[in-house]
Subunit: 415 residues, 2 copies
Amino acid sequence: MALIVQKYGGTSVGTVDRIEKIAHKIDAFRDKGDDLVVVVSAMSGETNRLLELAEAVHPHVRGRELDVLLSTGEQVTIALLSMALNRLGCPARSYTGSQVHILTDNVFNKARIRTIEQEKIRADIERGCVVVVAGFQGVDEQGNITTLGRGGSDTTAVALAAALKADECQIYTDVEGVYTTDPRVVGEARRLDRITFEEMLEMASLGSKVLQIRSVEFAGKYNVPLRVLSSFVEGPGTLITLEDEHMEDALISGIAFSRDEAQLTITGVPDHPGVAYRIIGAVSDLNVEVDMIVQNVGADDTTDFTFTVHRNDYERSLAGLQTAATELNAREVRGDTKIAKVSLVGVGMRSHAGIASKMFGALGKEGINILMISTSEIKISVIIQEKYLELAVRALHDAFELARHPKDRVDTANP
Amino acid sequence: MALIVQKYGGTSVGTVDRIEKIAHKIDAFRDKGDDLVVVVSAMSGETNRLLELAEAVHPHVRGRELDVLLSTGEQVTIALLSMALNRLGCPARSYTGSQVHILTDNVFNKARIRTIEQEKIRADIERGCVVVVAGFQGVDEQGNITTLGRGGSDTTAVALAAALKADECQIYTDVEGVYTTDPRVVGEARRLDRITFEEMLEMASLGSKVLQIRSVEFAGKYNVPLRVLSSFVEGPGTLITLEDEHMEDALISGIAFSRDEAQLTITGVPDHPGVAYRIIGAVSDLNVEVDMIVQNVGADDTTDFTFTVHRNDYERSLAGLQTAATELNAREVRGDTKIAKVSLVGVGMRSHAGIASKMFGALGKEGINILMISTSEIKISVIIQEKYLELAVRALHDAFELARHPKDRVDTANP
């Protein structure tokens, strides 16, 4: 008999009808004999409704009271789901983050989980109950309500699975799993049976929005097998685990992309030690996160810097950079918001050369110019003009034969 | 410097605009130097919205999960009001019933308060904070969320005032105080400056819906001065206290009435010991509360019984009574739902004869037939045909000169 933690997101519990469907699903699961702990989000739209109320009484409000407000969203769902289960004759008990004592630090609006009390959950499970826990929320040492930030329900589920040493943590979403790339861009995109935590992290941070990054980190850290499945369509989903012998023998697992980038360039900077710090420092002092950074050698003892930031941070960053440019007596500052990032991700590329050249070749064949390149152990990212984004993703998906299972690919040789 | 507990009901916090108005009101109060603990209800409509959701997933649901659901209503309000106060620069902190540890028994949906922890509230008050507490809710010894039943926010406020030994508990509503009778029926109805707990209990239980009965009982028991005021109109409201020398020197304080009654009669019952028990028992076994009971001596060793029940319980009661009638070999069972109850209430009538005869005279002059009479120390109630209700209330209001202040009344003599 396995212990499974399941998490249903806002869309899955978005209406009373859907809550009833999920209750039937859970009841059927119970009949198979597994023990279940279920984590739910607020009904879709509810968090935004609450945020609008908050905006109306106190624009841009943050802090303690916002968490008191937002945490009601999940509390409504746990009650309704437990009622629906009880009506089906399936014993169920709901718990808020505070009741099951999901202890967090005291950083309101984006708290981090420290510990979870298991006592009540274990006792309920032993009595044959389905335990329904509110995602996204916890309580600090002083008893204040905290929330984990958007998407935090995934983290709650993984943290519960880790604490209870569950056999699997299943994240139910509106997609059928993790795909080789976004199926809306590439029709033949293929659902992956398995993917490693590392790859999933790269996919998630590069714009693939299936799972919240922190929950993947957490699952990796505590080695909680994590499965992404659809709430609406039956299927095995995608299992996210440590790398093992069952892994697909692939060089590349998937292609992630993001349109949220903007590029900034400063040219003709004196090539002295400390200059990089002064340039990037000027931007990060504004609380802007810098993503890719490239430095080129320029002419006559000067150098050129290019880096990317989130598109929302572009204007602020440009202003900060211009100030720095004046101080550094740089030649020019320029920027571009019409760019996009495309990345190949795969643990297999660690042991294989030639991935980068094949990638650049495929893009070149389509006439797509590469503006920046950045690589890590399991990923190669390029910045291109935004208008080429779909073309680039399709070209790479074809070139690396991602629509086929790895064992059927032409050039997937064993190392 | 006084410590005041204020309670704002659902209508007073029904919209974001109203919450902001209440915040300004509270902020102005603070500026006068008093310490404030504020209890709020759910925004009007919210509890019904939540009940509809519950009905949709589990019709007629009761018990633990309903309280988890309903308690979110007040939690939203405490957060929004605290945000609004903080925005005005008025420090405020919100607490759910569970956070401030309003310990109740474990009767879900209608729990009773046992104790309240004062520590956090006192500490916040000392730091100059307005403490905002969710009404209507508490927590049992196992940490389960409980609710006090409809109108329970009044009880929360009074219980907090009692625990904190507050100088006054102010209940803000949509009326300007307690009136001599319903101003919608009698245009000249007069706001009372003061009324005793006892009188208020009679007024409340007789259909005057200003305050929840349990909160008045609670205030009387712990001698918490209770003031009813309007959220929307400035004014002193009505103070509900122990009887004292400041009391209006009135025989009659007010006229309460109710249309929710139905009358049942059983005639020709053998006049034996135990018969009353068998008749009333047959009805109360159905969990019906019996209000007025009158027994008349009938002809030839039989007796007639008449009693009233809530109109909603009429059909069930009639069926029960008919069964009892067959067993008792009674002559006849009949009933009437077109009746109403009118009551004179006043602590002054204890020491004055002649109130009843004056009442009956005033009704007789208008041609209103009295169907039943019942009296207590501070109240006389009559049952009349419903169609005469408004006429009767106006006639009595005139006869006892309630529109005038007691010292200006013609026949208000000192005893």
